[in-house]
Amino acid sequence: MSPDGRHRSLRRRRWLERFLDGWAIYRRNPLGWIGLGLLALFALMAAASFVPPLIDPMYHPMAGVDPEITSSMGPSLRHWLGTDFMGRDIFSQLLAGARVAFLVGISAAFMSVAVGTAVGITSGYLGGLADTLLMRLADMVMVMPALLVVLILAALFGQLNIWTVVLIIALFRWPGVARVIRAQTLTLKHRPFIEAVRVAGASHRRILLRHILPNVLPLSFLYMTFRVTSAIMIEAGLAFLGFGDSTTVSWGMMLQWVWKTGHMFKAPYWLLPPGLCISLITLAFYLLGQAMEEVLDPRLRKEEGGVG
């Protein structure tokens, strides 16, 4: 084998090894199993959300109205979880909600973690004035009541598109990540192996991208799971308050329909499923994060994953 090919296979083996080592720790954590199980369930739901409209157009979560039903009905064989006030199938809405939750949660978390990591690394590495400015900015964003600002934005610009919601969540949730990554960068910056590459004449770019970034990425990855939780909560809150994307069915949106049509205490088959799903997916990502925390670094602190 060529030396290059050998390197590659070595790297592959190494990744596998690292993964298996991590997995060995993870699997000892029963809470991690619960989180993973729940996530698998929700992933299955999200994947299955494409099926009902194919069976019959009346199962389309948004546009599919059962022609024979004009008011909210309880569960039946035709509609497993019943229908909403205008005869749309709640079960297919629930499945579609899972898809939206993953979409919003993961993309918003990814963006906020990407921004937070970039800011944290820059701030920690540069130090001095740049550090002060970036961290004060982070403080300012952190103390802003996210939900309130989003409400004001929504009031100003009218209906928000789902991607706008994602973007806004990302914009508000990066400072926490930035602070943690900055702290980690600070501890790395003065490690002898970084000093060694400086002595070797490495540029700042090289030091940041090849030496500091790979050492903070596991931490960023961990933070992503916590950010997913908070993104889903924020989206659900916005949708419930009526500031979500009205063209998308999300669990928060379903709750808003329950509320607005006055079925809050009349239709538990309609109220409970989306509410439970929001709680459980939040819990699932949180448990996943907790278990991964143990794998990545036992000394890491926990982070809250609430709204705002």
Partner: protein, 317 residues
């Protein structure tokens, strides 16, 4: 190779219940020259400023005042190209072989990084160079594919040495290269460094707190105390006849592996004073067994005594 001229490095620190500003004098007016081809050892207790001096010499830190010159050029007046050249010619071996290697990189990447940065070799050529270097420091070529955590301390230090040698430097600054290692491994690493020096005509600035380590490899020895040089002498002279009372105390503290030749150790009393509030006069006078009248108010300068020696003591010269 290197000339240090009245080099001072102060740190601003905040201390006490009111976080008052204070100045820590890590290096306080050091004049020193490192000649081409020699091994100059810098010894002293921990906290005496020897590592700071190394960092100043390596251009990792800027002196508060004074100048550090490399081959006549001030380190902080160099242009980009000169800095690049400097980074190739001056390399470092670190104290802690565990912390000085990136845990997420394989040995081939660690050792080959300098080659990559300076564009000296790429691809298969770089791999070949890395293997050659590993062989020179006594590691099997298979080590290239391994991660640092798979090695013992001594082997890691060999990796660190290979990394330093990769760019074919003229000067190697070794900051306590063996103090984190077992005694049996220390000798191996010292022999390796010694051999490499002869093969490659290297200049060493060797930093250590352990006089036993220094004795066999140095041409000259500089003794530091509280940020100042107190004695500078050819190694043989210094070990035969130490002039400064601090040097004598250090030598007395070296255990002698001969039960019949037991020296009466004169143990120094007290601790090293804080570099934030150094004592007036000679920094060593509070602990000095030979202090007399001028010691507590006049700072002794490093004065030449005889040939090639210098000492900073009111008793001598």
């Amino acid at each position: 190779m290197f000339e240090l001229e009245a080099v001072t490095r102060h740190y601003a620190v905040r201390q006490g219940p009111f976080r008052t500003r204070a100045v820590l004098r890590a290096v306080d007016g050091v004049d020193l020259a490192v000649h081409a081809g020699e091994t100059l050892s810098l010894v002293g207790e921990s906290g005496c400023g020897k590592s700071t001096l190394a960092r100043l010499v390596l251009r990792l830190e800027r002196p508060t005042s004074g100048r550090v010159r490399y081959r006549g050029q001030d380190l902080w007046e160099m242009d980009r190209d000169a800095v690049r050249r400097f980074r190739r010619e001056v390399q470092m071996v670190f104290q802690d072989p565990y912390a000085s290697l990136n845990p997420r990189m394989r040995v081939a990447q660690i050792v080959g990084e300098g080659l990559a940065i300076h564009g000296l070799a790429r691809g298969a050529e770089r791999d070949a160079r890395v293997r050659e270097l590993l062989e020179q420091v006594g590691l099997p070529p298979e080590a290239a594919g391994a991660y640092p955590h798979e090695f013992s301390g001594g082997q890691r230090q060999r990796v660190g040495i290979a990394r330093a040698l990769a760019v074919e430097p003229r000067v190697v600054v070794a900051d306590e290269p063996v103090s984190a290692l077992d005694v049996s491994v220390q000798a191996q690493i010292l022999n390796l460094l010694q051999g490499l020096r002869e093969d490659r005509g290297l200049t060493y600035l060797f930093i250590s707190h352990d006089l036993r380590v220094v004795e066999h490899i140095s041409d000259r020895v500089a003794v530091m105390y509280l940020g100042r040089l107190v004695e500078l002498a050819p190694a043989a002279d210094l070990f035969r006849e130490p002039l400064h009372p601090y040097t004598r105390a250090l030598l007395d503290a070296v255990p002698v592996p001969d039960p019949d030749r037991r020296r009466e150790p004169r143990v120094l009393e007290g601790d090293v004073p804080s570099p934030i509030a150094p004592p007036p006069g000679c920094p060593f006078h509070p602990r000095c067994p030979d202090r007399f009248e001028p010691c507590d108010h006049r700072v002794p300068e490093l004065r030449p005594t005889g040939t090639a020696r210098a000492v900073a003591c009111h008793r001598c010269g």
